[in-house]
């Protein structure tokens, strides 16, 4: 049974504490939403879970299938089965989407088995076409340089394509809806929904409730000032939409943002 257990996680950046004791459990097959006002630490959590070098874990644990991954490099975490869909994916000039994906697949295969020669090209091509069809993407997309000159929607779809190809066990979607219009949002959400299955645990990080109309979560958590202050079912998101974050601030006695 795959799960991600975040226990009392404290994270600082430049000695400034952003996460002040986060507790959260995501099991396989579940979709969790994490909401909160800007600056509250949502993306910090995403980056810390993936192991970004600038984020210091000062206390607490992150257990992936029982193993504490705090000291692991980002690539080790990736190979264990964690995936992060970035809010602002960076461009890698000169590297095509196809080339990149094949290298990522081969990195995993070689890590498992040193003698591994890598995925045969015809097999890779079939895999990529299959995933692109699943996500209703034009095959020509694979030849473009990764994130270079991509529109916001294309970048987000490229993230989901990577997720589809790498088949993680836990996926963290960091504000996947930001910068997207309604159509793009629907396409990206469809992509995520198509990948949903009992083996995948998803953490959807978002500021707005809107994406949760498309990617319906089982659990909703609200973060305020670096902590999760409220958890509930999908109705919590709707309640938040209606009342804004102030009601929570009053409830928890937090300062206004």
């Amino acid at each position: 049974m795959t799960n991600l257990v975040i226990e009392n996680l404290h994270v600082s950046i430049n000695k400034q504490e952003i996460l002040k004791g986060v507790n959260l459990v995501v099991e396989q097959g579940e979709v969790h939403a994490l909401m909160g006002p800007n600056g509250t630490g949502k993306s910090t959590l995403a980056y810390a879970l993936m192991g970004h070098p600038s984020y210091d874990v000062t206390e607490g644990k992150v257990l992936f299938n029982g193993k504490n991954i705090i000291d692991l490099e980002p690539d080790e975490r990736s190979r264990l089965g964690i995936f992060l869909a970035f809010q602002y994916p960076v461009a890698i000039p000169g590297v095509s989407v196809a080339n990149f994906l094949r290298t990522a697949i081969n990195a995993r295969r070689k890590a498992d088995n040193n003698e591994e020669k890598g995925i045969p090209i015809p097999q890779f091509r079939r895999l990529l076409k299959e995933k692109m069809d699943l996500l209703q993407m034009d095959h020509a997309f694979a030849g473009r340089y990764l994130n270079e000159g991509f529109s916001g929607g294309e970048k987000k779809r490229a993230e989901i394509l990577q997720m589809a190809t790498l088949q993680p066990e836990i996926a963290i979607l960091d504000e996947t809806d930001s910068g997207l219009d309604i159509d793009a949002l629907r396409i990206v959400s469809d992509g995520v929904n198509v990948l949903r299955n009992e083996n995948l645990g998803v953490l959807v990080i978002t500021h707005y409730q809107r994406i949760l109309n498309y990617i319906k979560p089982e659990f909703v958590h609200i973060m305020l000032d670096g902590r999760i202050v409220e958890s509930g079912g999908p109705e919590l998101a709707i309640h938040l939409e209606e009342h804004g974050y102030d009601y929570l601030r009053k409830k928890t006695g937090s300062a206004a943002a």
Binding site: D75, F83, F86, I92, V95, T103, A111
Partner: protein, 468 residues
């Protein structure tokens, strides 16, 4: 070979560092003087004019001081070099007749029987002499000449003399003078009017003797409306005393012809690689230099285009990779002499582990070369704080009605790029390698496929073992 074995081979060692036991018929003594030049000319059975040419060159070489710009040549000791060796009695056309030690060398370099689909012909240099050379039938039928430079002189004396040293005179620079005195080996290529050679012509050469100088001379004439691509790639084993490679490549691209000359240089890191490459580009013609410099201790090389006819086009695509102990001083020169000419220089350099990559380029527009258009882009990638990159662009414009652009950038592998790639399962090394691959992609995609693959592998090998 598993990638791990390759990694272990590559770390700290020059992976092509093997030698054959020497099998020589004739070798001059060390150092350079008149007698040695006479010996060389006699061994080759050259006409009088060529001996005179060589002696004039020697005289100029002796007078000319060492250049004080560019790289550091202080480690070069001319008195310790063998300037000529000759491994076989006669040049053979058939692969079967080539001696085994020489065949083994080609095997190790991964060159199989040359008459295959991807090659139109192979000229291979072994210790300053063309050992094996063969031309496919259809080329001969078309009238294409692809021979050793010595045979070019012997078989086509008038054509040879018409163009030899007309592009690069003896006095051009000290090392052109040196080459002119002791040149040996290289290719003579002639493409008749209107002939298009679809497959790249390739030449390999390597050196196998400590202190042996490498002085190949190549002369290429692409006649009107012709089209061809010449590729040279070379390796040399590693020694403790320094070696020199001082080549001269002259190319004439006649009216409406198209020619591309590609070099992938991966000399061992004790080698001084000082090459003069120049082309004269006539009306409506196109000349492209694709120049990849990965090896050598010091390379000074500036492929050039003289755009002497209207609507001529010159392009230089240059890649330099400098690791520890290496200095690549490379770039190109373009001369707009006629009106309506265009040019483009794209230079990509990568430095790591205190390696130094310098772009040195000249863009000159003569008076009356109206409506000339040129664009120069030089991008440098520094892989760590110890590495170094310099840019020395020289721009001389003597005409007002022109459009000139110059862009330069320096970058490092971004932390966010690394994190992004690592978050997909690539190790830090692999991630760096990927960013570097992407950086050189505009050049690599211009290489013939097997070279592109080799190039990417070489770059990845350089990356592996470079972190930490």
């Amino acid at each position: 070979m598993s990638s791990d074995a390759r990694i272990l081979e590559g770390i700290g060692e020059y992976k092509y560092g093997f030698q054959d036991p020497s099998e020589y018929v004739f070798k001059t003594r060390k150092g350079l003087d008149r007698e040695i030049v006479e010996q060389i000319s006699a061994m080759k059975g050259e006409p009088e004019w060529m001996l005179e040419f060589r002696l004039r060159a020697l005289s100029h070489f002796n007078q000319r001081p060492m250049p004080i710009w560019g790289g550091d040549l202080s480690g070069l000791d001319m008195d310790e070099i063998f300037f000529y060796t000759k491994p076989m009695d006669k040049e053979e056309k058939s692969w079967d007749d080539v001696p085994d030690t020489i065949k083994n060398t080609f095997e190790k370099l991964g060159i199989p029987e040359a008459e295959q689909k991807f090659l139109a012909g192979v000229g291979a240099q072994y210790e300053s002499e063309m050992v094996y050379h063969s031309i496919q039938e259809h080329l001969e039928e078309k009238g294409v000449i692809f021979k050793s430079i010595e045979n070019g002189l012997r078989d086509h004396p008038d054509l040879f003399r018409e163009f030899f040293s007309k592009v690069i005179p003896i006095e051009d620079n000290k090392f052109a003078a040196l080459n002119s005195a002791v040149w040996s080996g290289g290719s003579f290529v002639y493409i008749p009017p209107g002939v298009k050679v679809d497959l790249p012509m390739q030449a390999y050469f390597r050196m196998n003797e400590a202190d042996a100088g490498q002085f190949e001379r190549t002369l290429i004439i692409a006649d009107e409306g012709s089209q061809a691509h010449y590729v040279e790639g070379c390796t040399a084993p590693m020694y403790t005393t320094d070696s020199i490679h001082s080549g001269v490549i002259e190319i004439i691209v006649k009216k409406n012809a198209r020619f591309r000359y590609t070099t992938i240089q991966n000399w061992s890191t004790n080698m001084y690689n000082l090459v003069t490459q120049r082309s004269i580009v006539h009306e409506g013609a196109t000349m492209e230099w694709v120049d990849a410099n990965l090896g050598s201790k010091l390379t000074m090389k500036y492929p050039s285009c003289y755009l002497v006819g209207e609507n001529a086009h010159g392009e230089i695509l240059s890649l330099a990779f400098a690791a520890e102990g290496q200095h690549q001083d490379t770039g190109g020169k373009i001369f707009h002499v006629a009106p309506n000419t265009t040019s483009k220089i794209t230079s990509k350099s990568i430095s790591k582990d205190s390696g130094r990559a310098s772009y040195r380029g000249l863009l000159k527009v003569h008076k009356n070369a109206i409506n000339s258009k040129s664009n120069v882009v030089c991008d440098a990638l520094l892989l760590d704080p110890k590495s170094r990159s310099d840019t020395y662009p020289y721009i001389e414009i003597d005409e007002e009605d022109v459009t000139i652009g110059h862009e330069a950038s320096v970058s490092k592998v971004g932390e966010e790029q690394l994190f992004y790639l690592m978050s997909r399962g690539l190790s830090e090394e692999q991630a760096t390698g990927m960013v570097v691959s992407g950086f050189i992609e505009p050049l690599v995609r211009e290489l013939p496929m097997e070279y592109a693959i080799e190039m990417n592998r070489l770059i990845q090998l350089q990356m592996e073992g470079s972190i930490g």
